[in-house]
C-alpha cells in the first residue's frame, strides 16, 4: 500500500477507536444518569405525593421555629422543614452545619422512609447568615409563600 493509503488507514483506525471510546463513555454516562440524578423538592411537593419512599432526593425549605429537638439517642437531631404551607419532619444523625438555625433556609439530601420522615444523609448550608438557597426560593414560589425583600408584611 502506498503512503497515502496507509495514512488514510491509520486515520480511520484512530477515528474508529475514538468513536468506540466515546460510545463507551456515553453509555456509562447515560447509565449513571438514570440512577444518580438527584431531584429537588419542597415540602409542598412531598405533600402532593410527588416523591416515593426510598428515592434519593434533595429537600429544601425553612427550618420551622421551635421544631428542633434531639432524639432519645442524644445524637440524632429532629426538626421540621416547611415552605409556609406544608411541613416535613426531618431526622439527621450527625453534626449540623454551623449556621443551622430555626428560620434559616437549608437544603438536605436523603430519602423518605415509610413513616413519611425524611432521613437526611447530608445537610447543606453556605457560610453566610443571609444565604437562602435559590432552590428554596423556587420551592416557596411554587407554594406561593415567597416574599421578596421590600415586600414588608403590612400589619399582619
Amino acid at each position: 500500500m502506498n503512503r497515502a493509503k496507509l495514512r488514510k488507514r491509520k486515520r480511520m483506525t484512530i477515528v474508529l477507536s475514538a468513536l468506540i471510546m466515546f460510545g463507551i463513555a456515553l453509555s456509562l454516562v447515560l447509565f449513571a444518569f438514570e440512577d444518580n440524578i438527584v431531584f429537588f423538592y419542597g415540602p409542598s411537593d412531598i405533600a402532593a405525593k410527588k416523591v416515593t419512599a426510598g428515592q434519593n432526593f434533595r429537600l429544601g425549605g425553612l427550618v420551622t421555629d421551635g421544631s428542633v429537638k434531639k432524639a432519645s439517642d442524644n445524637v440524632t437531631v429532629l426538626f421540621n422543614v416547611g415552605d409556609g404551607v406544608e411541613d416535613v419532619q426531618v431526622s439527621y444523625k450527625g453534626i449540623l452545619p454551623d449556621l443551622f438555625r430555626e428560620g434559616q433556609g437549608i437544603v438536605a439530601q436523603g430519602k423518605l422512609n415509610d413513616d413519611g420522615i425524611f432521613v437526611a444523609s447530608e445537610v447543606l448550608a453556605k457560610h453566610d447568615e443571609n444565604y437562602m438557597p435559590p432552590e428554596v426560593v423556587e420551592a416557596m414560589k411554587r407554594a406561593g409563600t415567597w416574599q421578596e425583600e421590600g415586600e414588608i408584611g403590612h400589619d399582619n
Partner: protein
C-alpha cells in the same frame, strides 16, 4: 495615594497589552524584525505595570487602608498579617488581578527564556497572550475594579471569611492560577502555530516545558484545595465533585493528555492537529471554569461572586477567545501536514489510548457538571448531580488508563510487541496477585471493590520499581555500578517515574479514604469511651478558649489502643470569629504514614454530652504523598536540560530578515 497609583498602573498595562497584541502580529506577517521584537519588551513592561498594581493593592491590605472598598470587605485590623496578604486574592476582584499578573508574568518568562524561539512564532505567541490580557484587563477595569474607594472610609473592615484564614487555603489560589493561566501559553503557541500554518517537532519542544510547568502547579493547586477541604471543613471527605472543583479538574485532565500527546509530536512528528486542539481546549476549559465560578450560573458550596452581569462579560470573553481560536482551527488545521505512520500496537498507540481515555473522562465530568444547567434551561426541574454519578463514569475510564500506564511505556515506537511488553511485567504481576489475595482476605468484608484499586496501585508501584531496576542495569552490572548509573539517569526519566509512582499512591489513598473508612457519630460525656475500628476514643472534656480574632469551644479526645496505651490526643474546635461572626470547624487529626484518625466536635446536649464525629481512614495520607510525588516529578522533569534546549534555530533567520529590510 498608592491605590491611585495601582489603578493607574492597571490602566497603563491595558494600553501596553493593546499594543503588544497588535504590533508584533503585524510584524510577523510582514517579517519586520523590529515590530516582532517589540513583543518581548512590551511583555516585560506589561508585567512591571501589573506588579506595581498588585503591590499597591497588597500595601492597602497590609496597612489596613479602609478607604479601599476591597480592603473593607475582606480584611480587619486584628487579622493576622498572613491573612491580610492572602485576603488580596481571597475575593473576586483581587483574584482577577492575580490572574492578569500571572498572565503577564508568563509572557515575560517567554521573552526571558525564549531566546532561541523563531521570531515569528515568539511574536505571535506574545501577541495572542496580550489579547487575552486585554480582555481580562477590560473586565477588571470596567466591572471589577479592585481599587474602588469608599468615602468616608469606615473605621474597620468586615474581615476575611474565616474559612479562608488557613495556611493551606492562603496558597491554594496562587498555585491554581499559575496552573490555569500557565495553560494560556500552550494556547498562545497553538494559535500562533495555526496562524503560521506550521507545526513541527520544534514547536512541540517549545510547548512541552510550559505545559509541564502549568501542569505541575495546577496539580499542586488542586491538591492544596483538596487537602484543605479535608483538614479544615471536617466533613471527612477530600473531593466533593462540586462544580468549582470540577472546573479545576477538567483543565487538569486535558493538560495531562496534552503533555503526553506533545511527546508524540516531538518524537514522531505526528498527531499535530490533535495536539493543537488539546492545547486550545485546555485553556478554554480554564476560561470556562472562570465563567462557571464567577457568573452565578451554577450553585455550589464555594462559588465566588454571584453576579450574572459579570457573567455576560466573561461569556463575551469566552466567545472571542474560544470561538475565535476554534474558528481559526476549523479553517487552518486541515492544512497542517500529516506526519509519521505507526501501527495501533505501538507507543504512539498507547499514548493515543491515554489521550482518548483522559478526554472521555473529561467529557463525562463536563456533562455531569453542566447537566443541571442543561435541564434547567430546557425548562425542567432543578436537579443535582453528585458523587455517585461521577464515580460511576469516571472510575471505569480510569482503570484502563492506569493499566495502559503500566504497559504503554514498554512498547516501542512505530511498531510495538505487546507480548514482550507484558512479559516484562510477569514478576510484578505475580507478586501483586499474591499480595492482593492476602490483603483481600483481610478487607473483602469491608469492601471487595477496594481490592481492585489497591491491586492496581500495587502493580503500578512494583512496575515503577522494576523500571528503575532495569534502567539502572542492576542485573547486568551489579549493585555498585547500578547505583552509579541510577544517579546519572536522565531527569526526564526520574520525572516520569516519580509522577507515575505518585499516581499509584494517589489511587491507593483514594481507595482507602473512600472505601475503607470507619465512621462513627456519637454523643459522649466527659470520661466516656467508644470503640472505633480497632481502637478506642475517649472524650476528656471540653472548654472555651480565645484566639487572636475568635473565641472557640475546644474538645479534648484521646485515642487508646486495646492494651490501654494512648495512641494520640486530639483538640478539635468550633470557632466563632469577630467581625463577621462566622463559625468554623477545626478537626483534630492524627496522621501517620499509613492512616489518619480524625475527630470533629459538635453541639452540647442537654445532659452535658457532646456530639462527636470520629473517623479512621486507612491510607488517606497517601493521597497527599501521591500528589506530592506527582508535582515533584513534574518539576524534576522540567529541570532536565534537554527539555528546555529546543531545536536549534535555523542559522541566519534573523540575518535573512535584516537583509530584506536593508535591501527593501
Amino acid at each position: 495615594m498608592t491605590p491611585e497609583l495601582g489603578h493607574y498602573a492597571l490602566i497603563l498595562a491595558l494600553f501596553v497589552a493593546f499594543f503588544q497584541s497588535t504590533i508584533p502580529m503585524w510584524g510577523a506577517a510582514r517579517n519586520n524584525i523590529y515590530a516582532m521584537n517589540f513583543a518581548g519588551h512590551a511583555a516585560m513592561a506589561q508585567f512591571l505595570c501589573l506588579l506595581v498594581a498588585f503591590a499597591s493593592l497588597t500595601q492597602a491590605f497590609v496597612t489596613s487602608d479602609f478607604s479601599v472598598a476591597n480592603v473593607v470587605a475582606n480584611s480587619h485590623s486584628l487579622q493576622p498579617v498572613l491573612y491580610k496578604v492572602s485576603a488580596v486574592w481571597g475575593n473576586h476582584e483581587g483574584s482577577l488581578l492575580l490572574w492578569v499578573v500571572i498572565l503577564a508574568g508568563f509572557g515575560a518568562l517567554v521573552h526571558f527564556f525564549g531566546g532561541n524561539l523563531p521570531p515569528n512564532l515568539k511574536s505571535r505567541t506574545l501577541a495572542v497572550q496580550a489579547m487575552i490580557a486585554v480582555g481580562f484587563l477590560l473586565f477588571l477595569l470596567l466591572t471589577s475594579n479592585p481599587f474602588a474607594r469608599l468615602d468616608p472610609a469606615p473605621f474597620e473592615g468586615r474581615s476575611l471569611n474565616p474559612l479562608l484564614q488557613d495556611p493551606g487555603l492562603a496558597f491554594h489560589p496562587p498555585m491554581l492560577y499559575i496552573g490555569y493561566v500557565g495553560l494560556s501559553i500552550a494556547y498562545s503557541f497553538a494559535v500562533a502555530a495555526l496562524i503560521e500554518g506550521k507545526v513541527d517537532a520544534a514547536w512541540a519542544r517549545w510547548v512541552r516545558p510550559w505545559t509541564l510547568l502549568a501542569w505541575s502547579f495546577l496539580t499542586a493547586g488542586i491538591m492544596l484545595g483538596s487537602w484543605w477541604a479535608y483538614y479544615e471543613l471536617g466533613w471527612g471527605g477530600f473531593w466533593y465533585w462540586d462544580p468549582v472543583e470540577n472546573a479545576s479538574f477538567m483543565p487538569w485532565l486535558v493538560a495531562t493528555a496534552l503533555l503526553h500527546s506533545a511527546i508524540v509530536v516531538e518524537k514522531r512528528d505526528t498527531l499535530k492537529t490533535w495536539t493543537i486542539l488539546l492545547a486550545i481546549i485546555a485553556f478554554s476549559l480554564s476560561l470556562i471554569g472562570t465563567f462557571l465560578v464567577r457568573s452565578g450560573i451554577l450553585t455550589s458550596v464555594h462559588a465566588f461572586a454571584n453576579d450574572p452581569e459579570r457573567g455576560v462579560f466573561i461569556l463575551l470573553l469566552l466567545v472571542v477567545a474560544i470561538g475565535g481560536s476554534l474558528t481559526l482551527y476549523a479553517w487552518r488545521a486541515p492544512q497542517l501536514k500529516g506526519g509519521g505512520l505507526f501501527r495501533p500496537i505501538s507507543r504512539e498507540g498507547g499514548l493515543i489510548l491515554n489521550n482518548l481515555l483522559l478526554t472521555s473522562a473529561c467529557a463525562t465530568v463536563f456533562l455531569g457538571t453542566l447537566y443541571p444547567l442543561f435541564v434547567e434551561v430546557l425548562g425542567g426541574d432543578r436537579v443535582s448531580v453528585g458523587a455517585p454519578y461521577f464515580n460511576a463514569t469516571f472510575v471505569p475510564l480510569i482503570i484502563p488508563l492506569l493499566l495502559a500506564l503500566v504497559v504503554g511505556p514498554k512498547l516501542a515506537w512505530k511498531r510495538g510487541d505487546i507480548w514482550a511488553a507484558m512479559a516484562g511485567l510477569r514478576l510484578a504481576f505475580f507478586i501483586t496477585v499474591i499480595i492482593s489475595l492476602g490483603v483481600g482476605i483481610l478487607i473483602w468484608q469491608k469492601s471487595a471493590v477496594a481490592i481492585i484499586g489497591l491491586s492496581i496501585a500495587l502493580l503500578m508501584m512494583l512496575n515503577s520499581v522494576g523500571d528503575i531496576y532495569t534502567r539502572a542495569g542492576f542485573r547486568k552490572s551489579g549493585f555498585i555500578k547500578g547505583l552509579k548509573r541510577l544517579i546519572r539517569l536522565p531527569r526526564a526519566f526520574w520525572g516520569m517515574t516519580l509522577a507515575h509512582l505518585g499516581v499509584a499512591f494517589l489511587v491507593a489513598g483514594a481507595t482507602g479514604a473512600t472505601l475503607l473508612t470507619y465512621e462513627k457519630i456519637v454523643a459522649l460525656k466527659p470520661g466516656q469511651v467508644t470503640q472505633l475500628s480497632y481502637f478506642n476514643i475517649r472524650f476528656d472534656g471540653a472548654n472555651d478558649v480565645t484566639g487572636p480574632n475568635y473565641t472557640a469551644l475546644r474538645g479534648h479526645y484521646s485515642a487508646i489502643s486495646n492494651d490501654g496505651e494512648i495512641i494520640a490526643k486530639f483538640t478539635p474546635e468550633r470557632r466563632r470569629y469577630v467581625g463577621g461572626g462566622q463559625e468554623t470547624t477545626e478537626a483534630g487529626i492524627k496522621s501517620t504514614f499509613w492512616d489518619d484518625i480524625y475527630v470533629v466536635i459538635g453541639d452540647r446536649g442537654e445532659d452535658g454530652s457532646y456530639v462527636a464525629r470520629l473517623y479512621h481512614k486507612p491510607l488517606a495520607p497517601w493521597l497527599w504523598w501521591g500528589s506530592f510525588l506527582m508535582v515533584s516529578g513534574g518539576f524534576i522533569s522540567l529541570s532536565d536540560r534537554s527539555l528546555r534546549v529546543g531545536a536549534p534555530k535555523r542559522i541566519g533567520d534573523n540575518a535573512v530578515i535584516k537583509n530584506k529590510i536593508r535591501n527593501a
